[in-house]
């Protein structure tokens, strides 16, 4: 019997992110939802959970029209979503967290016995009887915290549960426990939407799999009838523009950056890679594959456990123990989150641009205002930063113009190797084109660029080579002309397949 019917659901922000998606979830069914980064998985589930309002389409919950105006309303109707970020309060006990909002009390005083009794009953429902409800949540491992989070969402009447990448932080033992709980919930008739990109897990736990691509519903198939390769193929589809930018830059043959066995914990596992002057090397992979972490290791923002970084073809490893050393040696990083890591938001464009090379606009520690304005104005014009003046605070600029300011900073520094982390995220189309053009020019001027992006089309368009990371490893490096979107995506998923990863 259909628990939830979604018909023709769509969501448009500036551009459509979800288009005419129809689907059905039955009682006691686990529906796996998968797709590339940005395929629309989160948007779709947030619509169901009442966190996002659809621009079009309708939903029906157990035969009645369902259009939740808020998360609270959806929860009142038994539709719950376990978000990736845990919403638990670590300094309170398991029982208090479970019953937050309806803690039993008498004259304002908490009735501890009743509280713990209710909590125990609650946990027994999902077979979680091993935990003392008096334990502080902060003392529990991440896996158990996740269980408590799920149990919390089962307080009251829960008919539909959405799990968003629930296994991302779990160990294999904890994953087994989670799957036991999921089976118990199924038996109770709860419908589950399970977002994941781990194909092997989906095969273990899901009844059907639903694939989204670019906001479109591509297919929904019974899990038993599809192989992992079929799913990847559905996710990738066929794209006409597989070739990208045809003008290849001549290889200079001079190595600008070389990594040998660079690693940190399990996040980045022994990556070896070399980058030439004048080359744009793309870095593809799924979210959490270790790409951002790799850039931070190279830049000295996180300490490395093992491996070395070599610069300028030198035979001796570069000593990069901190971002300061990295910058001194000619590296520049455009971080993933420009607002919290890249920019001094309330301060002027001028101040942000000269930050990394402030000595160039100072004499003996004293700033030369006219020199600084001259240099910043020149860079402003070069990048086409749209602003009222270079004195404008960067928090008043659009995302694209903010990103240009970060780029301008590294051009002002004249660094040799540029590490870009999702440089066009949240950047509008015209600013993107400007940024690509700048990257081309920087590469032509002999800079080496290592660019992490989750947008495969972008990588295909601007890169000379594309390296693919999966589950912390560098699995494959493609030269221009060798790649197809499908091959890239298969490589990106390879580390998460049941089979051993493809050798690099």
């Amino acid at each position: 019997m259909a628990l939830l019917l979604g018909e023709n659901l769509g969501k448009t922000y500036v551009t459509p992110v979800l288009r005419g998606v129809s689907f059905q979830l039955d009682q006691g069914e686990v529906l796996a939802l998968t797709g590339e980064n940005g395929a629309g998985k989160s948007t779709l589930t947030k619509i169901v959970a009442g966190l996002v309002h659809p621009s079009e389409g309708t939903m029906t919950l157990a035969g009645k029209p369902f259009s939740p105006a808020s998360r609270q309303e959806a929860e009142g109707l038994g539709v719950r979503m376990v978000l990736q970020e845990l919403g638990l309060i670590p300094t309170l006990s398991v029982a208090e967290n479970l019953l937050m909002g309806h803690i039993p009390s008498r004259a304002g005083f908490i009735r501890r016995d009743r509280l713990n009794e209710l909590a125990e009953r609650q946990m027994a429902i999902i077979g979680l009887s091993g935990i003392d409800p008096r334990t502080l949540v902060g003392r529990l491992g991440v896996g158990y915290q996740q269980m408590v989070e799920i149990a919390r969402n089962l307080v009251g009447d829960c008919r539909l549960l959405i799990l968003d990448e629930p296994t991302a932080t779990l160990t294999s033992h904890e994953i087994d426990r989670l799957f036991e709980q999921i089976h118990a919930l199924k038996a109770r008739g709860v419908g589950i939407i399970y977002i994941s990109h781990r194909l092997d897990e989906m095969q273990q736990v899901a009844d059907r799999v639903m694939v989204l691509r670019d906001g479109n519903h591509i297919a929904t198939r019974p899990m038993a009838e599809v192989s992992q390769n079929d799913i990847v193929r559905l996710m990738v589809g066929h794209d006409v523009n597989q070739e990208g930018n045809a003008q290849a830059r001549p290889a200079t043959g001079r190595t600008a950056l070389e990594l040998r066995g660079l690693g940190r914990g399990k996040v980045v596992q022994d990556v070896s890679l070399s980058l030439q002057e004048g080359e744009i090397l793309g870095m593809a992979g799924l979210v959490g594959a270790g790409r951002t972490e790799l850039l931070r290791l190279i830049f000295g923002a996180d300490p490395k456990d093992r491996g070395e970084v070599y610069l300028d073809g030198s035979a001796t490893p570069a000593r990069i123990g901190s971002p300061m050393a990295a910058v001194r040696l000619g590296l520049g990083l455009v971080p993933e989150d420009r607002k919290s890591q890249g920019l001094l938001l309330p301060l002027a464009i001028r101040i942000n641009v000269t930050l990394s090379n402030i000595r160039a606009v100072a004499r003996k520690g004293w700033l030369k205002g006219s020199l600084e304005r001259l240099q910043v104005n020149r860079l402003r014009d070069l990048f086409g930063v749209k602003c009222s003046s270079i004195e404008q605070p960067v928090n008043e600029l659009s995302g694209g113009n903010q990103q240009k300011v970060v780029f301008a900073r590294w051009l002002h520094r004249d660094c040799k190797v540029l590490l870009l982390d999702e440089p066009t995220r949240g950047v509008d189309v015209s600013a993107r084109a400007d940024i690509y053009q700048q990257m081309e020019q920087l590469a032509s001027a002999g800079k080496a660029i290592l660019m992490v992006s989750s947008d495969l089309r972008e990588l295909i368009q601007v890169c000379d080579r594309i390296a693919v990371m999966s589950a912390g490893r560098l699995v494959q490096v493609f030269n221009r002309g060798e790649w197809t979107q499908q091959a890239l995506l298969e490589a990106a998923f390879s580390g998460y397949l049941a089979a051993p990863p493809v050798a690099p």
Partner: protein, 328 residues
């Protein structure tokens, strides 16, 4: 918001107008207060009143300059009052027991203050402890050390230490003139040097500074050391007025200093502040103090009013800040 390009001069003009706007509010408040007290008390408009205020503020002013830097990087220093007393006590020992002249004793005071400040900064940076906690500990330690250094008794020094507070130019004492020089120098350093730029950056977003390749740790430590040094100098100025090293000197001074800096519009969250405005903040507090005394307000009343002024000043500053942001 219009997205047009403009010439750099326009930018400079608008930033100059902004700067004037920053001072105007505090200056207006100050003038209003002076007019009010002048109207209420016939004795207020006399050279004597203003000279008394001028000769009264140097210790607080000098410390407030350093505190402005510390607040700008998002820190706080609660130990300055105790450090003032400790520095003066050490200088007192140098003068009384070793018979050092004043000019050497001043260096002792500044060195002691700088060491205390350096410890504040270094401990807070090395173990990533909020400076609030570290300096709270230092407040107790420095006070205790001051008691030990003075044998818990006020050590009378007298004549040799009077130079700082002896009128020199138009009835102004050297301490005041030194304090003004420090205000001007500190404002220039804050607005015109790489160091000042870095401090504002650290207070705005330390992680972004780190990823831009700036080593923020020595900068942060240095700011605490500078404040310590200035507190040491302030301790000497206070000692000169008392003609004695008093182990109880400067109790509660940290709160007066922080209040003055905050009235001047420096953000406790860091990233924003001006030494000139701190100067106005100090003036507002002392004019208020002197004026209320002259119109015969009792000590409790004075404290209630001063407290209210601090809160109102911060609320007004918040509105001003919001208005400028909307205008942009």
């Amino acid at each position: 918001m219009e997205l047009t390009t403009s010439s750099p001069t326009q930018g400079r003009l608008s930033s100059m107008r902004g700067t004037l706007g920053n001072y105007a509010g505090l200056l207006a408040a100050l003038v209003l207060m002076v007019l009010f007290f002048g109207w209420k008390s016939q004795y207020f408009f006399t050279a004597n009143t203003f000279l008394t205020i001028a000769n009264d503020i140097p210790a607080v002013l000098v410390t407030a300059v350093g505190m402005t830097y510390v607040l700008i990087i998002g820190g706080i220093d609660l130990s300055v009052g105790s450090v003032m007393a400790l520095a003066a006590a050490c200088a007192g020992i140098a003068m009384l027991q070793w018979h050092w002249p004043l000019q050497y004793a001043v260096f002792v005071a500044m060195a002691v203050g700088m060491v205390a400040g350096f410890l504040n900064g270094a401990i807070s940076v090395a173990w990533r402890i909020p400076s609030f906690i570290v300096t709270l500990g230092m407040l107790e330690m420095a006070r205790g050390s001051a008691y030990i250094a003075t044998n818990s008794r006020t050590q009378y020094i007298g004549g040799p230490v009077e130079w700082f507070s002896t009128p020199m130019l138009f009835g102004l004492c050297p301490a005041f003139l030194i304090a003004i020089l420090i205000v001007v120098a500190a404002q220039l350093v804050l607005t015109r040097t790489v160091y000042g730029r870095y401090l504002i950056g650290i207070g705005t977003n330390e992680e972004a500074m780190r990823l831009a390749g700036v080593d923020t740790r020595p900068l942060k430590i240095s700011v605490f050391a500078v404040l310590g040094l200035l507190a040491g100098l302030a301790g000497m100025m206070q000692c000169s007025r008392l003609e004695a090293a008093d182990p109880n000197a400067g109790i509660g001074a940290e709160l007066v200093v922080i209040a003055a800096v905050v009235i001047g519009g420096t953000s406790l969250m860091g990233g924003r502040g001006s030494v000139i405005n701190t100067f106005f903040g100090v003036l507002i507090i002392s004019v208020l103090e002197a004026g209320l005394a002259q119109i015969g307000a009792s000590e409790p009343t004075k404290r209630i009013i001063t407290g209210a002024v601090i809160i109102v000043a911060v609320i007004l500053d918040m509105y001003r800040e919001r208005r400028t942001r909307r205008r942009e």
